[in-house]
Amino acid sequence: MHSSKNITLFQQLSNDAGGGLLVYNPVAPTPQLIQMMRRLEKDHGPVRHIILGTVALEHKVRIESFFLKLLILK
């Protein structure tokens, strides 16, 4: 389907070297999804990486709000 792939990678830098979560192709951050992610973060460490594996617009739109809601507006 896709001939080429541009990949965007967000990485949260932190000093402590622990385990964390990697999110590939984030979906829309509805409150339900954020609740699920918070539950995962509580058990398995914070979200460290977000990868966007597509250049399509409808996928790119979601990543910014996902990034803001999950990593910055904690």
Partner: protein
Amino acid sequence: MTNTLVHFFIVFLVSSLSTSHGFQSPQVLHLMRNIQCTKVFPRRTYLETHKNKSYDNIDNFSPEFQSKQNRRSFMQSSAGALLTTIASTLSISPDTSLAASGVDTAIVTPAFSKELSWPLGKVAFSLLPLAATSTRRATVEECVIENTIWTHDQIQGVVNVNVPVRQIVVKVRKVPIFIIFISRYVCIHLKT
């Protein structure tokens, strides 16, 4: 000749085996099962509802009384039908609130709440009628490998073409370099 025959047989066999469930993964099937919870009640015609009514009682032949009797019997029968539909819907599925209000044909949709909405989609796609921007956008979480990989599925689409979108969450261990095979073409090396 035998080679081609064997090849044809294998291709035929494999295709017939694989077409039993299509190429959908169990996660997608699970999602579809969750989404398709619509139920259509059959519409009953007037003749069907009054099929068993007997018309051979012609003792009271005055038109006034007859009309009254007809109206009363119609009201009684309709009330009875309504009660039976309410009882049947309550016994089958208690969450069909639309059917309980006496509507014969009803497509029951699950409730929409703020938990399932993503308001930014309205701004971003205000010109394009994308699905799940003003309608509900439920998420299905599934654990693929225990304590390692999870998937989150949502629906997105235009008008009547809806596709599931999947997010994958991977737990990163304390390994300095890890490798993910995203597709058969792409391989990423990441340094933590």
